[in-house]
Subunit: 359 residues, 2 copies
Amino acid sequence: MFASLQNDTFLRACLRQPTEHTPIWLMRQAGRYLPEYRATREKAGSFMGLATNTDYATEVTLQPLERFPLDAAILFSDILTVPDAMGLGLSFQQGEGPKFARQVRDEAAVAALEVPDMDKLRYVFDAVTSIRHALNGRVPLIGFSGSPWTLACYMVEGGGSDDYRLVKSLMYSRPDLMHRILDVNARSVAAYLNAQIEAGAQAVMLFDSWGGVLADGAFQQFSLAYSRQVLSHVKTEHGGVRIPRLLFTKGGGLWLDEIADAGADVVGLDWTMNLGAARARVGDRVALQGNLDPNVLFAPPQAVRAQARAVLDSFGNPAAGHGHVFNLGHGISQFTPPESVEALVDEVHQHSRRLRTAA
Amino acid sequence: MFASLQNDTFLRACLRQPTEHTPIWLMRQAGRYLPEYRATREKAGSFMGLATNTDYATEVTLQPLERFPLDAAILFSDILTVPDAMGLGLSFQQGEGPKFARQVRDEAAVAALEVPDMDKLRYVFDAVTSIRHALNGRVPLIGFSGSPWTLACYMVEGGGSDDYRLVKSLMYSRPDLMHRILDVNARSVAAYLNAQIEAGAQAVMLFDSWGGVLADGAFQQFSLAYSRQVLSHVKTEHGGVRIPRLLFTKGGGLWLDEIADAGADVVGLDWTMNLGAARARVGDRVALQGNLDPNVLFAPPQAVRAQARAVLDSFGNPAAGHGHVFNLGHGISQFTPPESVEALVDEVHQHSRRLRTAA
């Protein structure tokens, strides 16, 4: 059993219930921009050493909360744990992104794919439970996974990509193989997120980091359809408590209407989308999360505060039925000065309270 | 004096006049995917050696037209010639993108910027005239430049970037300096495009390759406003002949309405935008150019043809007042099989004729 929640602002905003301020958390908030993170990472020896060790994962998840009054914690892990558990061999070279030892590019590799035994991901569920205990009810804990399409990008490319040439070549040449990969991914991700919820995650987020690289038409068929499949199989409540489900599509603004109908409670937006226009478009179907450009955090504190107010003002006063969760439009940069985060969190809390009083 | 034009389909489509088929050309059509280009590049020794030599630039510009019945030629050059002429020292390392020897990051560097003497860009205007003669009226010649914002990205970053951290840091910290860079760029680009028109360019295109990385609000202020400034100073006709002006913003779909009012005759779109929806949105304000995903060209010819038809069908039958220029949504990949381009050009011509007959 876990301690009862002291700050449920984030969960209420996700469910479009009234809140006293706009909750804020930051994608990749436990990360390299914090010296204490870099120290723990050093002790762990490698990124996967950090992510697979329950104590380290717990330690770094809580680090940003010690510095800033954030309204949610997010599991420290990686979006690619599922294909790693499928046996593709995930590693992180120093200074580079993720790499898979084995790529999924031909009929045989696709045929060999299976939903992994969730026991191979036990380290993630153990971390969730450990973090939940360590949080002791301060703020809710968010679990997450990469979306089926985003996982497929890495599985086919074998790592990051500039042009998504290999994964799109497969998609346009052999859509049958791509659909099989995506179906295995969708079933795996649904099982993975449900196990995180059972282990203690109080909300879950699907990162469709590369949905926005697809053409109109292909996005709906190869990305959104499988995010929808995941969401239709992920628990909406656990132990009688609602579990909000968030879907973030980087570069997905053009498809906001369709994304809002995918079954998520919250849609995450990047900075290219006007938040007021987005709110008008989705109405009371979903709450919105976002959408400050992370590069704003390289400006002086007064400019950070002004840009934070602009995002809040663009959303407007959150009346009943319109939830807003403040976030960046992408993960925080490793070069970010922590003082900028301090100014940001403070301004979001202060200004969003003012907006509610002024209304 | 130049020979009279035999195929003006592209120019008519730009001006939303009736055409017998949908014209097609490809961004970066004279490029590394062609073995004959690589041979000329080898002779020239370097990319800039190629771009600054009138004979080589003429040779490679015409190469794709020898293979494929494309409806336009585009000057072989680079989007960064203008900041090079400002004295920033452009070079291309083997296998890497462009690099500037000197970056524009502080007050002193910004203050030193000036509209370059157009004589330093004489090699470009000479190439335009030479190509125009060599084309001998086959198809129209398009001139081009990077947009003020896109040039500024490279000038501040000193080269390509994953996150645009330096240029956005400057923009958010010192908007006054950024506006000064953009104003110098806009005046330079306008003079540069006008000189290309005087040298023989029959249409000009502004590449806002990195407009789409900006936040809503910042895009309008730092990118679109300066593209508009350029377009308001670029000739709309020369020697009594209309000169269509094209504006391409990668990732600009969300701002299509505003882009359509920037003063261009044609708006270029990438593959994320639904072309039918875009056409409905812009009405008869502008023609549209695009928008096949270049990665489609890695599929077998039959799949290439099917995807080309899907783009044409999405736009629909070009009735009076709705022009469509077929293109990719980004430059063609160096790994593209030339046979795919053959299938694409043929299908666009055939299917677009069928669409007109069926109507």
